[in-house]
Amino acid sequence: MTRAVKLAILAALVVAAFALSLIAGKQWLPLDGDAARAIMIELRLPRALIGLALGAVLGLSGAVLQGYLRNPLADPAVVGVSSSAALGAVFAILYAGASSLAVFGAAMAGAGGAMALLAALTWRSASPVAFILAGTVLASLAGALTAFLISTAANPYAIASVLDWLMGALTDRSLADAARAIPPMAVGAVLLAATARSLDALTLGEEAARSLGVRLGRLQALVVIGTGLTIGAGVAVTGVVGFVGLVVPHLLRPVFGHRPSDLLLPSALGGAVLLLVADSLCRLAPGASEVRLGVAMALIGAPFFLMLLLRHRRSAWI
């Protein structure tokens, strides 16, 4: 099967998953009737759009970060952007009225702050090791500050809504939410896609890549800003949803090959499929309330990933 055919199949899966996300729910939608149209446009369309965009950027940024750090265990969480965006959002929920605009703005500010700190910490080194260390420091700092904010909050209802939000969900998002989140995601995705060639060159190591004309500083800027915009906007509108960026490039590597540039587009498509299907399943799970998407991803993702590791244990490239 050629790459084009495989991509076409993935794209068809995206379309199918998007359609599923539009009609699936405790009430399956027939495709006509005014009430159905209202539910679809007001409730399910924004949810499907955000799910599509979020899954795509999670998959893409995971593939880019794994290529950049040359490490199959890398994912957007290692950069510290998601925890920093979450910190901003938690602050807004507790102290700035918790409107969706305030949460979005604060989360983007948190992501922006993380990008600036990351750039400052790795300035002039452009080495993946410095990048991982700086990201780890940022993630734990943001996590600690988030815990601090929660522990000092006076209002138990606010704490409940913070915890609810942190678990990540696509429930009850509006078209306005989608319109806020998708533009920064699109800009970030373009920046991330521009790293493709440099990631290929990095396969041979940093020195060989530089001897091939790769500017590591520019590459790092693309990775940092691209991840910040995509993941920041994602967290801002859905909370923290993990595992997609880690698992999707893994799943697709045997199908599309190991070359980093060959994995970017497939990972975006695959991430969208995974997230849309997972979100649809969340709605269908029995019980009065929905399973939170972030929780579901972790519940599905962790054992799945373990299985993957066990199966590939004998090969050098897990």
Partner: protein, 256 residues
């Protein structure tokens, strides 16, 4: 075009690993770079490829290497690092194709010219039959040849290689040396770090001997590969063999 070093120095921390290098490596010739461990051989190559900050200036003809546009420099100087790292299990041909990256404009697909250069590089290193194999399935020597093909595919004006023979069997060592001689015969420059003095005698037109970050000797191979020149640098007594090439063989440590 000759590769010219104007009082080049490199510091690592507070230690000068390269000092006062004034040198002209000539195009159209193979220069073997020799010296004991820590003499500054690899550092010299990296400074020449502008991969590390250096004082002074390295020039390719009249152009300072450090200030060339990265893509232009990448087309001019091909560099093969010592460690044969390939971080993803890509196909051998895709690894070789990376050598063409400096020749491709931002989003253009590979051209017929690129494909021809890749094929030629695979043929030159006898790796054509490995082209479709994943790199993890290759032996150390096969992988080393594929990585050398990567540099050859870029068709650089200067080819700088850090111990390209290290993991090769004798037959492939001879093949690669022939290949490097052919590159130089085509008018391009070749600088290779070697540890094997016998291979150096076989391949080199010129020999550069480094010692403690300085140039200990530089000149035509026959003049430099002499026990009197090498013994103070390596601290080893050398014997010689008669024959078409200047052959020096390490016999025993001096001063023990």
């Amino acid at each position: 075009m000759d590769l010219i070093f104007d009082s080049v120095g490199v510091m690592r921390g507070r230690r000068a690993v390269l000092r006062d290098i004034d040198l002209t490596l000539r195009a159209g010739r193979v220069t073997a770079i020799l010296g004991p461990n820590g003499a500054g051989k690899s550092t010299l190559l990296k400074a020449a490829a502008a991969l590390i900050p250096a004082t002074g200036r390295v020039r390719l003809g009249n152009d300072a290497v450090a200030t060339m546009a990265p893509a232009h420099r990448a087309r001019a100087i091909g560099y093969l690092p010592q460690e044969a790292a390939v971080h993803w299990n890509i196909r051998a041909r895709d690894a070789v194709a990376l050598g063409r990256l400096p020749h491709r404009s931002a989003y253009a697909a590979a051209s017929a010219r690129d494909a021809a250069a890749i094929d030629a590089a695979l043929a030159a290193t006898e790796t054509t039959h490995l082209a479709q194999r994943p790199i993890a399935e290759l032996s150390g020597g096969e992988r080393a040849r594929v990585l050398l093909a990567r540099v050859l595919a870029g068709e650089p004006t200067w080819l700088l290689a850090d111990e390209p023979l290290a993991s090769l069997d004798p037959a492939h060592q001879l093949d690669i040396l022939d290949r490097l001689r052919a590159v130089a015969a085509g008018g391009r420059g070749v600088g290779i770090v070697l540890h094997d003095l016998i291979q150096a005698g076989r391949v080199a037109d010129d020999v550069l001997v480094m010692h403690d970050g300085r140039v200990a000797a530089h000149g035509p191979a026959r003049a430099i590969l002499q026990p009197a020149v090498l013994e103070p640098v390596f601290g080893v007594r050398f014997g010689t063999l008669p024959g078409p090439h200047p052959i020096c063989i390490a016999m025993e440590r001096l001063g023990r």
